[in-house]
Point group: C2
Chain length 197, copies 2
Amino acid sequence: MKNKGLIFVISAPSGTGKTTVINQFLLNHKKDFVVSVSVTTRQPRKGEIDGKDYYFFTKDKFKEYVKTGKFLEYAPVLDNFYGTLKETVKKSVNAGKNVIMDIDVQGAMKIKFKIRDCVTIFLLPPSFSELARRLKNRRTDTPEAVVKRLALAKKELKERVKYDYIIVNKDLNKATENLEELFESIYKLERFKRNRP
Amino acid sequence: MKNKGLIFVISAPSGTGKTTVINQFLLNHKKDFVVSVSVTTRQPRKGEIDGKDYYFFTKDKFKEYVKTGKFLEYAPVLDNFYGTLKETVKKSVNAGKNVIMDIDVQGAMKIKFKIRDCVTIFLLPPSFSELARRLKNRRTDTPEAVVKRLALAKKELKERVKYDYIIVNKDLNKATENLEELFESIYKLERFKRNRP
């Protein structure tokens, strides 16, 4: 029988570079790892593919799935809902794939509560001022939006102590290496946990 | 500042080969690891050195140390007392040495309770019948003593689920390798725990 995959939950304040690190990591680990696809009620943007970028649900369908307990976690964001289906995670884990859940602090704690043996990782910017610099340099947000994002980041950064592990993203390659090392070590230890006859 | 050492507690039923595995491991890791020296009130056997094999205490001195809270754990065994001094562990850990505590199931749980971030490891014989075979082949115990040891082993084996990790000692080299791998993985992970600024 194939071993079950592990569940990794990764959070970071906006601007930390979480998605870039995860994508760089996946380049060499697509065989064993998947990023869980979230459900959203927002409209697909140009180029987004249903089932790959998100599962796009109507609000009615989303509510129906909430009612029947199909979500591992979900939360409203502005006028829409975002969530993760139990089935999405279960299918991958049972197929022996490790699942990476790219998820915010609130969602992460909900998942940790439901799945005690998931591993939570917080990706940390090298400093708050560096995070501010990165967000300002993006030039995609208005100055007001940047201020908002930074206020949220400050709150989120405080939550890092609740996570199992912390990786600092000072340098993309170094952070990706750290993530690899972390996953590898956890994977090795898992073997000694599962040895129980 | 030097990083603090980690604390590893290793238990196993008599006859599992725990001491042999630990000694084999230490051959290549004396720089970073020490086995904590226990205190006993029993008489030193021929060749045993005070401070190396045990700290040999009188019963009065032992009781005094118990009263003043100097023991991390202690327990009576037949007519004598055995225990581990807080100071012994503290000194090594502060010097950056990882401490291996070779200790029975009861003692292990006492230590886990007091030092939450210690790592507990249970060394498992490949099977109960193999353990019985090994104990019988020792020829140092009377058949009655073997029966007693096996009864105790049966009880101890049930406690393995309380440990963080399990290593099966089927083959000495393999078990030593597993121990190395386990320590290394834990050590690597520790770095990501301590990263907290």
